[in-house]
Symmetry: C3
Subunit: 348 residues, 3 copies
């Protein structure tokens, strides 16, 4: 993939994406666009004929779409999966935040840390003793890589992310700005007059190909590990409590709160502002819809809704019934009145 | 406005606020106070006669209040809008966090960045290549102003705020500590075995006179812009998803979650812990009360409550009915019993 | 307490914890373990006989448990309160993040600040003019200790914590990474066309033995103080609004939102994602269960549940009734049908 800021010809893009070209081969494409665009050098993607029609009147350069759509007048590249191919095109356009090779003279790297010569460490970054930064890893300004932490190959630690200690970040994982990994789990014991802290001496393991959003916090385990599995993606401002284990390829959206010692399976989806109580188990392929709150083990795959989280269809029935409550109250008042009449009419 | 730490005479303050003075002209006022105060040099404000009475027994210096209130024995300044005038007095007392003129020797500013001579850049701040910092802007320690960002005139970037890249902050806007602007939007496509990241190549535009709270995160757009309009105020720990557009003079309180591609109008109020699902439109002058969750377009001005967000009065009716549910269950059991009796009595 | 990375003999640990030893005195213990462990040098604790049985088959070194439990084959130390004693053992094992004595040459400390010779200030920390850092305090890299702040004896400010100005942190209190103390309270007044900021000129007081979680934000008061009382523990990503006063030994879990001017008593527990509206008072010994939302004064000790927060048993009744709603609807339809029949049968 050759990234350019000067753009590509439409033919070059068709070749890179393995698509079929309809339109001028030499049309200059400089970047992406959408239905708001008015840029004759923008490439847009359309997965539906409806969206294609919206694009018809626009001054965009070209559209990436499916082979079977007909009557497209805009220059186009045809591929079987426009969304996936478009992600590849966006990757061409994407520029990584700047960072110079090697260790910046204004970084502080412990003499007892190990930084690969092909890793990058920016200004005002700190790498503590015992830490390892592997080949191709990018440590941005203000990142704190604590004692005995490990940052894997090609992993990215964005500005202001904090790795307390004993935190492992796997290959190609990305930790966004302001995220805090390995802070103390929230554990105390009440001694009758005050809360006594239970020292948190475990670690935090982020596997490979994980993405952790900005200002997300993942506590280290009291004992043992807090774990985030391969390929899992966590949005901004999510809280993961100590000793929780989250599986692989799971997605957790913003402002979700995962309590301590929660086990979450593979390929789950937790929508925004969801929650789980501590010490429960969520199985594989479970979906919690927006703001659902899991209050007990949810082992059966499928969608759950509401608080406490309830199988989707059942919760929808409850919510529909809730909305009919004022009607129901009226109906019962009416029944009472009519029953009273019957009672009064009753032969004595 | 002349700020002083030594205080002002009551007459000076009356003059600055354009109010009428009742009491000793030379009374020394050194700062603000409230109903907890016991400071003979404090100025307090009172918008109601009830609050005035609470102040009667206190050793405060003076009160800022309305012309029409009678029987006030505390020295006073009378103005038509005490709250607004008091804000002006507080501005007199307020001290900005310290920052020296020019660029601190321990800042790292790219040779390809443009910093106005009248801007201030503190120790351990980073300004990347292509960034512009305009006249009067204040960049505090540990702020990261990324590639091609622009910080407008008199804008303030507090310690630890992060601007990834292509982030614009308008004139006089204030970005609080730990806020993250321009982090990647949360976008993936599932390829059957893993989540493939959709690169986020858009930008983030913060207009003028905006305030962004501590640890708030505003993602950059996938394509195009995430936008926050003029005069909008966002509290701490709010999440704004990619490609959302928030209008002007809108207020969003703490822990609210705005999903991606949400359009929010002007002069809206979103209370704490509210949420919106993605791809919806909230019209102008809409209020979401605490924890309301907008699940579809809300185009009619007015207050909405509950999850899903429902016109206020309608939701109140539902909630009232909910609280009567145990009664209703009893009533229906009673109806059943009585109906059974009637049925048994029925002549055969 | 002598911390060691080489471990202790079982007899040494028994002596430190004041427990009775059953098993080999010279057994090497190097750290803690749990029911997942397979480490012959791990010490585990068990408060119940059930958990003891789980441990029976494991290759752990020893177990810390109660004197009265019988039939324990694993080497053991017996103490009356295993959990509390185990916390002491964990403290033996815990290592503080590294920090060198004195002020690091890459820190920026104002000539007008006062730092005790026995305090530690790390690389890339900023201590502004008028600030005081007392004996034994630890200021980690990237911490910002603003103007006129005070960090008490043995207090800890972790990397990236921000103290704006006039923030006091009491003795032994711990401020975790990314926490922001003393940011502006969210106060505006609408002047008919825009929100006018009410300057926030008060302070933030964190008393002694407090712990503040990662990315938690505590605003400074408009006037007067925002206060967190002795021994109170606040989890990650909690928001505390301006002028709120939180009592002593209170616990607040993650993602809770405390509005402005809220008074919360001593020994309260606010679970995750809870909320309080502004200007209310929560008495001593109140519990808000997960996601409860206090909408008015709650002065009676005890547990509250739901939104609005309702005495626990009452809310449970409401929730049980809610789940019976679809049944109730059916029942009422049935009553209607039967009543109709009776009405039709009625002698005319």
């Amino acid at each position: 993939l050759e990234k350019r800021t000067t753009g590509w010809s439409l033919a070059e893009i068709a070749k890179i994406l393995g698509g079929e070209l309809f339109g001028p081969a030499d049309l200059l494409i400089t970047g992406p666009g959408n239905a708001d665009s008015d840029d004759p050098h923008a490439l847009v993607f359309a997965e539906s004929e409806g969206y294609l029609k919206k694009l018809a009147g626009l001054r965009i350069g070209a559209v990436l779409t499916k082979p079977e759509f007909e009557g497209v007048e805009t220059p186009s590249i045809r591929v079987p999966k426009p969304r996936e191919s478009y992600a590849l095109f966006l990757e061409l356009c994407r520029r990584e935040l700047p960072l110079e090779a090697g260790v910046h003279e204004r970084a502080v790297v412990s003499a007892e840390a190990s930084v690969d010569p092909d890793a990058m460490v920016g200004a005002f970054a700190v790498v503590e003793r015992g830490a390892t930064v592997e080949k191709g890893a990018r440590i941005y300004p203000f990142a704190y890589v604590g004692e005995d932490c490990k940052v894997g190959e090609d992993a990215v630690i964005y500005p202001h992310a904090v790795l307390y200690r004993d935190v492992q970040v796997g290959a190609r994982s990305v930790i966004h700005a302001g995220a805090v990994l390995g802070s103390d789990g929230f554990g105390y014991t009440w001694n009758g007059s005050r809360h006594v802290k239970i020292p948190q001496v475990g670690s935090t393991i982020i596997a490979s190909d994980v993405e952790i959003g900005a200002c997300t916090t993942i506590d280290r385990a009291m004992i043992g590990e807090t774990r985030i599995g391969d390929g899992t993606k966590i949005d901004n401002q999510v809280q993961v409590g100590h000793n929780s284990h989250i599986g692989r390829h799971t997605v957790i959206a913003s402002l979700a709160g995962i309590s301590g010692s929660t086990i979450i399976g593979d390929r789950c989806t937790l929508a925004g502002q969801t929650a789980t109580v501590d010490h429960i188990k969520i199985g594989d392929d479970v979906i919690l819809t927006g703001r659902a709150a899991a209050s007990k083990d949810l082992l059966t795959p499928g969608a759950y809704r509401g608080a406490p989280a309830t199988p989707y269809a059942e919760e929808l029935r409850l919510e529909a019934a809730y909305r009919r409550l004022p009607d129901l109250l009226k109906k019962v008042r009416d029944l009472e009145r009519r029953l009273k009449e019957l009672e009064n009419d009753r032969p004595t």
